[in-house]
Symmetry: C2
Subunit: 717 residues, 2 copies
C-alpha cells in the first residue's frame, strides 16, 4: 500500500509497508506460499496443510454456525462458549442452571445431548467442478446465466447428497471464476461435556463485545457420537464416541508477543476483492445512508416507546437490533475512513488497469471488466429505492406478515424445487413462527410510524426511482401516505392471530380472494417486489459472468507484485497465519497482546456482566498458577491478541503454534477491525483468542475435570 | 509500603517499593532532601530553591484560583486557558468571540484588561509566626483554643495588610504545629495577551476531563501591569508593564520518557497525614454515604425533570453539579480501594505507635495522640446527622435563602469583625446574588422532593442523632414531613423576588418579626444549626491543639525510616519533583507519556467538544513541525504525563526540566489519581501537562505571534 497522506508518520508508513499477515488462504494455496509461511515462523511442511480432507485440517469442523476442532481420538471437540451456547441453554432447567453455573460431565454417561438440530460437519471432499457448473451457462447472459449456474449447482448437490449422512454445497471462488463441490460428513449426536459458567465464558457480555483487552474464557467442550456402525445417527444412548480421522494436540507451552500463530476455520463473507466503485458505494453511500435511515427508525421506536410503555416493550428487541446494526455500520464506516479505503482501493485498481493495458490478454479481459463496471455503476440508479423498499419488509411486523402470506400463496402453486428460496416447504415452519411472533411484537401506531419514516424518504426520491405500485398503495405525498396508512391499518383484520393462522393454512386461491386491506396492499405491491427481485438476479447473473475477468486481471497484477491472492471468504475452510501482536489503538494508547487474571479482578464489579464467579476470584487470590503462567512475566494469562485474518464464522477456530499445536481459540475481533470484511489494515486488524493455558487452569484448579485433561493429553499439574 | 495482598504481582510490588516521587515540599525543605533531588536528576543547586521570595520561585504566582509564572521581564505570565477563562469570557462580545476564536493581541496597546476582580499575587514574605499565633492559645482547650488562634491570626493579617497593595494570610502547617505569615503583593491590572480558541485550549471538554491520553492546548498568556510608580494599581491605560523580580526561561528542548521534571505551585488541600481512623471514615463511610445520598437527589431531579421540562431546566445546573460530585466521589472511592488505603494507612500508623512506645518522648506525645484519636472517633456519633443537615442548606434554593436571611439578621447585630465568616459585610453581595438566582433555579415541587429525600434519611437516624428543632419543624414521620412541607411551601411568600429583596434590606428586628412560614421554620432551626457549628469549632480547636503531637510522632518515625515529611497541602507554594512517566492503567493497557497532534485528528469529529479549528487541522496536515518535534520519534508533541505530586490549585503550575527551564504547564490529573488527595499511589498518580513545544508551535505556525515568541526568548523558526 502506498502512503496516503501527510498524516501518516514514519511509524505508520512502516506498518503499511510491512509484510501484512493478510489472507484467508485455501489450504491448496499454502504450498505456493510456503516461503512466506516459513519466513513467518511456521516449522512444519506447508504441503501437509494442502489437503483439507487430510490431517491435520480434517480435524477442523463446522459446528453451530462457527468452527470447532477435534482434540481427542474419542471425538472431543473444542469450540467457543458462544458457539455452543444453544446447547448449554437447551440443557438448562429450573433445577439445573448450566448457563450460570457451567457444567462438568461427571463421566461419559453424564454427557448431555445437544438440541436435536445441532450439527457438526467434517469436510470429506473438496473438488473443483467449475466446468460442470458453467457448462450450460456459457454463452448465456443475465437471468439465464444465473439460472443455469443455479440449476447446475442444485443438481450437483442433489446427486452428492444421495450418500447418507453427507451434506453438500457448491462454493463459488473468485466471484464465479472457480466452483468447488464441498462434501461434509454431518454428525447429529453432539453432547455437552464441559462448559464454564456464563460469567467466565461470556465475562463482560455486550460491554466487552469487540473490546480488547478482554477477559473471557469463551470455550466449551463437546463430544461427537455416532451409531454403533460408525455412521452418523440421531441421539441414542447406544451411540458410541466418534473417532475422528485426526485430532489436534494441545500445546504444553503458551504464546508470547511476536510468536508465530496460524488459524483454520470457516470465515463467512468478505468483500476484499470488490471493485473500487463498490468500495466507494459502501463507504460513501450504503453505510452512511443505512445509519441515517436506521437512526430514523430508532428515533421512531424510542419516541413511541416513551409515550406508550407497552409499545416500547413490544419493540425492545427490534430496537436492540437496530442499535446493534447502527453501531456495527458506524464502526465499519469509521474503520474504512481511518484506513482511507476508497482512495487506497481506487488507486490500486487504477494501477492494475494501467498495467493491464500493457499486457497481451488485455484485449480478452478488458471488455468484460468494462461491462462489469458499467453494471456496478448502474446499481446507483435504484439503490436508494431498493434499500428503502427492503426495509418495508425487514422492519415491519404486520406488513411483513401480509407480504409473506401473499408471496407464499403464489409460490405454493409451483413444484417445491421450483419455489423461490425462502418459500419452499422447508421454510414454511419459519414463516409460520414469524406470523405467530407478530402477536408480541406488533403495535399499529409504531408500525405506521416506522412505515411513515421509510416511505417519507421514498417519496422524496426522483421520479425515475419511483415504483407505480408503491405509489398506488401509499400515495405520492406525506398527506396521502398518512391517509393510506390510516385506511389500511384501520381496516385490516390481519392483526388477529386467528385470521393470520387461517390465511397461512388457506388455499392459494382463497388468499387471492381475500379483500383484507393489508393483503390487498401486499397483492398490489407484489409485481414491484418481483420486478426488483428479477432485476437483481439478472444483474447477479451478469456479474457472475463478468467478474472473473476482473479477478483474473487482479490475480495477474498481484503475481507481478510478487503476491498471491486468496478468494474472498465464503464459509469454506481457510487458513490464516500471523503472529501474537500488540495493538497501538490510538495516539499514546497501547494494548499488550496478553491479558492476565489480574484484569478479571480489576473489571469485577460483582454485578452482571462483570460478576466473576466466587470460585474463580478465590482461585485467583490463592494464586496457584504453577505450570500455567507466562514464562517471562510470571502472570497467569487469559486471552491473547494476534493479527490473524478472520471474520464472522471464525468463532471457535483453533489457533495453532509453529509446531501446529493448539494454543488458543479464536472468539472475537477488536472494535477497530469491524471494517476488515472490506479491508485488512495491518495497523488495526486483530483477532481475540482465549488462551489454552487459561482453559487448562480452569479445568485443573477451578472447576476441575482431571479425567478430561488426561484425555486431552495435558494432565492436571 | 508493604505488599498488601496476593493480588499484587511482582511488578506491582516493585512499583510500590520503588522510591515514590511523592511530596509537595516547602521550598525551605529542599536543601534537606538535596540528595534525593540530585539522584532524581536535578542539575541545579537545591539551595537556590529554598527561598520562595527569591528567584526562581518568586516567578511562580497565584492567579485566578490557580498558579501562573512570569516568563518575561515585562510581566508576561503563562497559566492555563481554564485558569484565565474568566478573563477570556469577560472580553468576549457578540462581535468578538474570544472564547471560540481565541485572541492574539496585535501589540501591547491591544492587550485587553481582565475583569476588575481578577488578581495576581506574588509571594514576597513567608515567615514562621507559630509563637505569636499560639501565645494566647496555650493552656486553653476547645472553642477557646480555636478562638485564640483565630484572633491572633486575624490580628497578624490586619497588621500585615496595612502596607498598601499587600495581601496577607496565616498558613497552618502540620495541622497546628507551625504557622506562617504569607505576604503577597497583589497586582490588579492583568491583561489578556494570547489565548488559543476554546477548541484548542479545552479540546475534549468534559469528555476528556481527567482523561489521559489528552490533546488540549490548555494555556493562555497574560501580562501584569502596575502604575507608573511601579505599585499595584487598578486598570488604567497609563499603567506600565510590571517588571517581576525574576522570570522563568522557556526551554528550547523538549522532554522524553524518564526525564527529570519538577513543578512549583499552590496546591489546595490534601489529607495524606490524616489518622488511620479518618482514612477509614472517608473510605468506609463518607464517600459511599455521600454517593448514595447524592444519587438519591439526582434521581429526584431527574424524575421531576421528566415530568416537568421547565422544572428540569431550572435544576439543570444543580443536577450537573450533583453528577460531577458523584463521579468525583466514586472515583476517589474506587482509587482508595484500589490502593487498599485503609489497610495501608492503618498498618503504617500501628507500626508508628509501636515504635513510639519505645521512644523517650512517648510519654510527652502519647496522651495528646490518644485524646485526638478519641475525639476523631466521637465524630462518628453525629456524622450522619451533620451530613444530612448540611445538605438542607447546600441542596435547596428557597430554604437556603430563608436560612441565610435569618442568620444574616442575627449577625448584622454584631460589629463586622465579630460576625461569622460568610456573613460579614463583604459577603453580603454574594448572599444577595444567591437570593436573586433563586428566581431561575427554584421550583416548589422539586425542592419539596429534595428536602423529602434528605429528611427521610434523617428520620431513620437513631434518637441520639436527632435534633429537637428539626423534628419540631419537619415532624418525626414521613407523613408528618409531607404535611409540614406542604404547609410551609404552601404558605410562604418567600418565592416572590420582591419579598426576598425586601427582607434582605430589612432591619434585623423586622426580619425577626416576620411570620412567613419559611422564615419561621428557619428561625426555629437556627439554634440547632448554631449548636452544630459550635460543636464543630470546639472540636476543631481541640484537634488544632492535639494533632501536632501526632504529627511530631509521624515526622520522627519517618525520619527513622530515612524519609522527610512534607506538610499536607494548604494553598502555599510547594515544589514537587519526579519524571516523565507512562501509565499502566489497567491489565494490558499502557499509555505513553507523550501525545502527538495525530491524536487531535483521531479524536476530531468536527462537533463540540472535538471540533479542532480548521487552521489547526490544516497545519497538522501540512506537517510543518521543524524545530518542535520529538527528537526520537519525530512526532509533534501536544501534552505529556509525569508522576509529579499535584492536587487542585496546581492548575497552571510551571513544569521545569533538570536545568530549571520551562517545559510544560500542569493542567489536570488522570482519573486513576482522583484519590491522590488522600494517598499517593506511585502506580497510578500522574499529572497532565501541556508541552511548551505545542504552545510554541501554535504561536509560530497556527495563530502566529512572532513578537511574543521573541519576548519569550524563543523566536519563531
Amino acid at each position: 500500500m502506498r502512503i496516503r497522506s501527510m498524516m501518516l508518520g514514519a511509524a505508520m508508513a512502516l506498518a503499511l509497508d510491512a509484510k501484512a499477515d493478510e489472507g484467508m488462504w485455501l489450504p491448496s494455496q499454502l504450498p505456493s506460499i510456503a516461503k512466506n509461511l516459513k519466513d513467518a515462523g511456521f516449522r512444519g511442511d506447508p504441503k501437509d496443510l494442502a489437503d483439507l480432507t487430510k490431517a491435520p485440517l480434517n480435524a477442523v469442523v463446522r459446528i453451530g454456525g462457527g468452527t470447532g476442532s477435534f482434540v481427542s481420538s474419542d471425538g472431543l471437540v473444542v469450540t467457543n462458549h458462544h458457539v455452543a451456547f444453544g446447547v448449554i441453554q437447551y440443557n438448562t432447567r429450573p433445577d439445573r442452571d448450566l448457563i450460570n453455573e457451567g457444567f462438568v460431565a461427571p463421566d461419559r454417561a453424564g454427557e448431555l445431548p445437544a438440541n436435536p438440530d445441532y450439527r457438526l460437519r467434517v469436510t470429506v471432499g473438496f473438488d473443483k467442478v467449475t466446468d460442470r457448473i458453467l457448462a450450460d451457462a456459457r454463452g448465456k447472459t443475465g437471468r439465464a446465466y444465473y439460472d443455469a449456474v443455479d440449476a447446475a449447482s442444485k443438481a450437483l448437490v442433489a446427486e452428492c447428497e444421495k450418500e447418507p449422512g453427507i451434506r453438500c454445497s457448491v462454493a463459488n471462488m473468485f466471484y464465479g471464476r472457480d466452483f468447488y463441490l464441498v462434501r461434509q460428513l454431518e454428525l447429529r449426536d453432539i453432547r455437552l461435556v464441559y462448559a464454564p459458567p456464563r460469567a467466565i465464558g461470556n465475562y463482560g457480555d455486550e460491554i466487552d463485545n469487540f473490546v480488547w483487552p478482554r477477559h473471557a474464557g469463551d470455550f466449551t467442550i463437546l463430544r461427537a457420537y455416532v451409531g454403533k456402525d460408525g455412521k452418523p445417527a440421531d441421539f441414542s444412548p447406544d451411540n458410541v464416541p466418534y473417532h475422528p480421522p485426526s485430532h489436534l494436540k494441545l500445546a504444553t507451552e503458551g504464546v508470547a508477543e511476536g510468536d508465530f500463530v496460524m488459524l483454520a476455520g470457516y470465515p463467512g463473507t468478505t468483500y476484499r476483492h470488490r471493485t473500487a466503485a463498490e468500495f466507494a458505494d459502501q463507504i460513501e453511500w450504503r453505510l452512511p445512508t443505512s445509519v441515517a435511515v436506521l437512526k430514523g427508525l430508532q428515533e421512531v421506536i424510542e419516541a413511541q416507546g416513551k409515550a406508550d410503555k407497552e409499545a416500547g416493550i413490544r419493540y425492545a428487541s427490534q430496537l436492540q437490533s437496530l442499535k446493534n446494526n447502527i453501531k456495527r455500520f458506524s464502526g465499519e464506516l469509521e474503520g474504512l475512513k481511518r484506513s482511507d479505503a476508497v482512495a487506497v482501493r481506487r488507486e490500486d485498481e487504477a494501477a492494475m488497469l494501467v498495467w493491464l493495458a500493457t499486457q497481451s490478454d488485455a484485449a480478452a479481459l478488458k471488455p468484460s471488466i468494462d461491462q462489469a463496471m458499467a453494471l456496478i455503476a448502474q446499481g446507483k440508479d435504484v439503490r436508494d429505492r431498493d434499500l428503502l423498499v427492503g426495509l418495508l419488509t425487514s422492519q415491519t411486523q404486520l406488513m411483513r406478515g401480509a407480504l409473506s402470506i401473499d408471496r407464499l400463496s403464489v409460490e405454493r402453486l409451483k413444484a417445491d424445487a421450483e419455489r423461490e428460496s425462502g418459500y419452499q416447504k422447508r421454510d414454511e415452519e419459519l414463516i409460520q413462527s414469524q406470523l405467530t411472533q407478530i402477536q408480541r411484537r406488533y403495535d399499529p401506531r409504531v408500525e405506521k410510524a416506522l412505515v411513515t419514516s421509510v416511505l417519507t424518504r421514498y417519496q422524496r426520491l426522483p421520479d425515475a426511482q419511483r415504483l407505480p405500485e408503491v405509489d398506488k398503495v401509499f400515495g405520492r405525498t406525506p398527506a396521502e401516505l398518512t391517509r393510506a396508512l390510516d385506511g389500511i391499518y384501520g381496516a385490516t383484520t390481519f392483526a388477529d392471530e386467528a385470521e393470520r393462522t387461517r390465511l397461512f393454512a388457506a388455499a392459494p386461491a382463497d388468499v387471492a380472494k381475500s379483500n383484507d386491506a393489508l393483503l390487498v396492499a401486499a397483492r398490489t405491491l407484489r409485481p414491484a417486489l418481483l420486478r426488483i427481485e428479477e432485476e437483481k438476479k439478472a444483474r447477479e447473473g451478469d456479474l457472475l459472468r463478468l467478474r472473473p475477468a476482473y479477478m483474473q486481471a487482479l490475480i495477474a497484477y498481484r503475481e507481478k507484485q510478487g503476491k498471491a491472492v486468496y478468494p474472498d471468504a465464503n464459509s469454506t475452510l481457510r487458513v490464516s497465519y500471523g503472529k501474537v501482536t500488540p495493538l497501538a489503538a490510538r495516539d499514546a494508547v497501547s494494548y499488550a497482546p496478553l491479558t492476565t487474571v489480574q484484569g478479571i479482578v480489576e473489571k469485577n464489579t460483582g454485578a452482571f456482566p462483570f460478576d466473576a464467579p466466587v470460585p474463580l476470584i478465590d482461585a485467583i487470590h490463592k494464586g496457584d498458577f504453577a505450570g500455567y503462567t507466562d514464562a517471562k512475566t510470571g502472570a497467569m494469562p487469559v486471552d491473547f491478541l494476534s493479527n490473524l485474518d478472520t471474520t464472522g464464522g471464525n468463532s471457535g477456530s483453533p489457533v495453532l503454534n509453529a509446531r501446529g499445536e493448539l494454543v488458543g481459540l479464536n472468539f472475537d475481533s477488536n472494535w477497530e477491525a469491524v471494517s476488515a470484511s472490506w479491508m485488512y489494515d495491518p495497523r488495526y486488524k486483530r483477532a481475540i483468542h482465549v488462551d489454552m493455558r487459561y482453559m487448562r487452569w480452569l479445568m485443573d484448579k477451578v472447576y476441575p475435570s482431571h479425567a478430561l485433561l488426561r484425555e486431552l493429553g495435558v494432565p492436571a499439574k
